[in-house]
C-alpha cells in the first residue's frame, strides 16, 4: 500500500490521504476487513501530524469506507457489492469522459476514437 503526500497541491493533506485510500479500496487493492495502519503509525511514517491522519480516518469512517474498533484499530469496511460496483463504474465513466474530451480537442471523429479504443483494448 502506497500513499504519496505532496506539499505543492492546494488539496489539504488529510484530503490527499482520504482520496488515495478510497481509490485503493475501490480498486480492490485494500480488501474487506484488511487492517489499516494506526493513525499514529501513518503519521510517523508520512512525517505528518497525528491530527491530520486522525481527520482522514474520521472522514473515511463517516463515508463508510473503514471501520474503527476501539483498542483494535481500523479496518476496511465490508462494502455493499452493488454500491462498490457502481462506484467502480463511475470511475470508468470519468476516465472515458476525459478521453473523449481529449479526442475532441485533437479533432478525432467518433469512429476514429472507437477504432483507437478497440486497438488499445486488445493491446493492454
Amino acid at each position: 500500500m502506497n500513499i504519496i503526500i505532496t506539499n505543492s497541491s492546494p488539496e489539504p493533506i488529510y484530503q490527499q490521504i482520504v482520496t488515495q485510500l478510497k481509490n485503493l479500496i475501490l480498486r480492490g487493492e485494500l480488501t474487506e476487513e484488511e487492517a489499516l495502519p494506526s493513525i499514529r503509525t501513518l503519521a510517523k511514517e508520512l512525517q505528518i501530524s497525528v491530527i491530520t491522519t486522525k481527520r482522514a480516518y474520521e472522514e473515511l469512517e463517516r463515508d463508510g469506507y473503514i471501520e474503527t474498533v476501539a483498542g483494535k484499530g481500523s479496518f476496511v469496511a465490508a462494502q455493499n457489492k452493488d454500491l462498490l460496483r457502481e462506484k467502480r463504474l463511475r470511475i470508468v465513466e470519468e476516465k472515458i469522459a476525459i478521453a473523449i474530451a481529449a479526442a475532441r480537442v485533437a479533432g478525432l471523429k467518433r469512429e476514429e476514437l472507437f477504432e483507437m479504443f478497440k486497438l488499445l483494448y486488445d493491446e493492454i
Partner: protein, 295 residues
C-alpha cells in the same frame, strides 16, 4: 475561531498566565495541550517563550493565572510533576570532561524512577558510545544525549526550550523523527519552543504563537494552515477597502503579496483578480509580526 481540545484530557493547561518584568510583560496567556500530541511554541526572539517555559517549570514565580500539568497545580504538586516531566534546554549543562556513562549515573541519582534499560536502549538507538566524553560530542549528539537522559525516567511530558537551535538540517530531521516515534504510545505529549517554523511544518499537531508576550493564536496546525491564505496580485487591485482584508501586505513595483485570516472569504472577494495560496507557518509569523510593526 478554532475548536479547542477539551480541558479534561489536557496534559498541560495554561490559564490567564501573567508575569510582569520592568521592560516586558507576559499578558494573560492561555493554551492547552492534550495527551498524546506535539505542540510547537513559536514566536520571534523576545516574545516570551522562555519565560513561559520557566513559569511552567516553576523556575520563575508567576504574578497571576494558573498552570496545570497532568491536571495538577504546578506549585502545589511541584515534585510529582517534576518526576513525570522531562526538561531539555538548548545549552549543554553537563560536565564536559565526563563520559556519557558517568554523567548519566550522576543524573540518574536525582530521579525517583530512573530506568537503566530504557537509557541503554536510547544510547543504542541514538548510536551514542557510553565511553565517549561529553566534550567530544557534536551538537546533534549532545541533543540526543540530553533526550536520552530526559526520557529515561518515565516522563509523560517532554518540555524543551529551543531544542533545534544550532542543529544542522540532518540532525534536526533526525530529532523530529525521534519526537514522532515518542508519541506512538498515545500517552506522551511534547511541548517545545522554536523560532525555526519549518520544525513544525511536518509533525506538530498544535501550534501556539506568542508575540510581545501575548498569544496570537493557539490551534491545531492543520486548521491554521487551512484558514489563513497568502494573496498575490497586481497593485491596482489594492485600495483602502481591499487593504483592510489583510493582516499585512508587502508591495513591490510589480505586485503585492499579503496574508489574510480567512482564505475562503478572500477567494470570494478577489475572485480571479488575485491568486490565493496556502501559507506556511513562517508566512503567518512574518506577516503578523510585520503587521504590528507597521501599525
Amino acid at each position: 475561531m478554532f475548536n479547542q481540545p477539551k480541558a479534561t484530557d489536557s496534559i498541560l493547561e495554561v490559564n490567564k498566565l501573567t508575569k510582569h518584568f520592568k521592560d516586558f510583560s507576559l499578558k494573560n496567556i492561555s493554551f492547552q495541550l492534550p495527551r498524546g500530541y506535539i505542540m510547537g511554541f513559536i514566536g520571534p526572539n523576545g516574545a516570551g517563550k522562555s519565560t513561559t517555559i520557566k513559569l511552567i517549570m516553576n523556575l520563575l514565580p508567576k504574578d497571576s493565572g494558573q498552570i496545570k500539568v497532568f491536571g495538577l497545580d504546578n506549585l502545589a504538586h511541584e515534585l510529582t510533576i517534576k518526576n513525570r516531566t522531562a526538561f531539555v534546554f538548548d545549552e549543554n549543562h553537563y560536565y564536559e570532561e565526563l563520559s556519557i556513562r558517568t554523567m548519566a549515573s550522576i543524573v540518574a541519582s536525582f530521579y525517583k524512577h530512573w530506568e537503566p534499560q530504557t537509557f541503554e536502549k536510547f544510547l543504542k538507538d541514538f548510536e551514542l558510545k557510553p565511553k565517549q566524553k561529553i566534550k567530544e560530542l557534536s551538537k546533534g549528539m549532545k541533543m540526543k544525549f540530553s533526550l536520552a537522559i530526559a526520557l529515561s525516567h518515565g516522563a509523560e511530558l517532554l518540555i524543551m526550550d529551543e531544542p533545534t537551535a544550532g542543529l544542522d538540517p540532518i540532525a534536526r530531521s533526525e530529532f523530529l523523527e525521534i519526537l514522532a516515534a515518542l508519541i506512538q504510545d498515545e500517552q506522551k505529549s511534547i511541548f517545545f519552543s522554536t523560532h525555526i517554523t519549518t520544525d513544525l511544518d511536518k509533525i506538530a499537531d498544535f501550534v501556539t504563537f506568542l508575540h510581545h508576550g501575548e498569544i496570537v493564536l493557539s490551534a491545531p496546525k492543520d486548521d491554521i494552515l487551512d484558514k489563513y491564505g497568502i494573496v498575490k496580485g497586481a497593485n491596482d487591485v489594492l485600495d483602502e477597502e481591499t487593504k483592510s482584508q489583510f493582516v499585512s501586505i508587502k508591495t513591490n513595483q510589480f505586485g503585492f503579496e499579503g496574508l489574510v485570516r480567512d482564505k475562503e472569504r478572500a477567494l470570494r472577494y478577489f475572485k480571479e483578480r488575485a491568486i490565493v495560496e496556502k501559507p506556511t507557518l513562517e508566512d503567518i509569523m512574518l506577516y503578523t509580526v510585520r503587521g504590528e510593526q507597521h501599525g
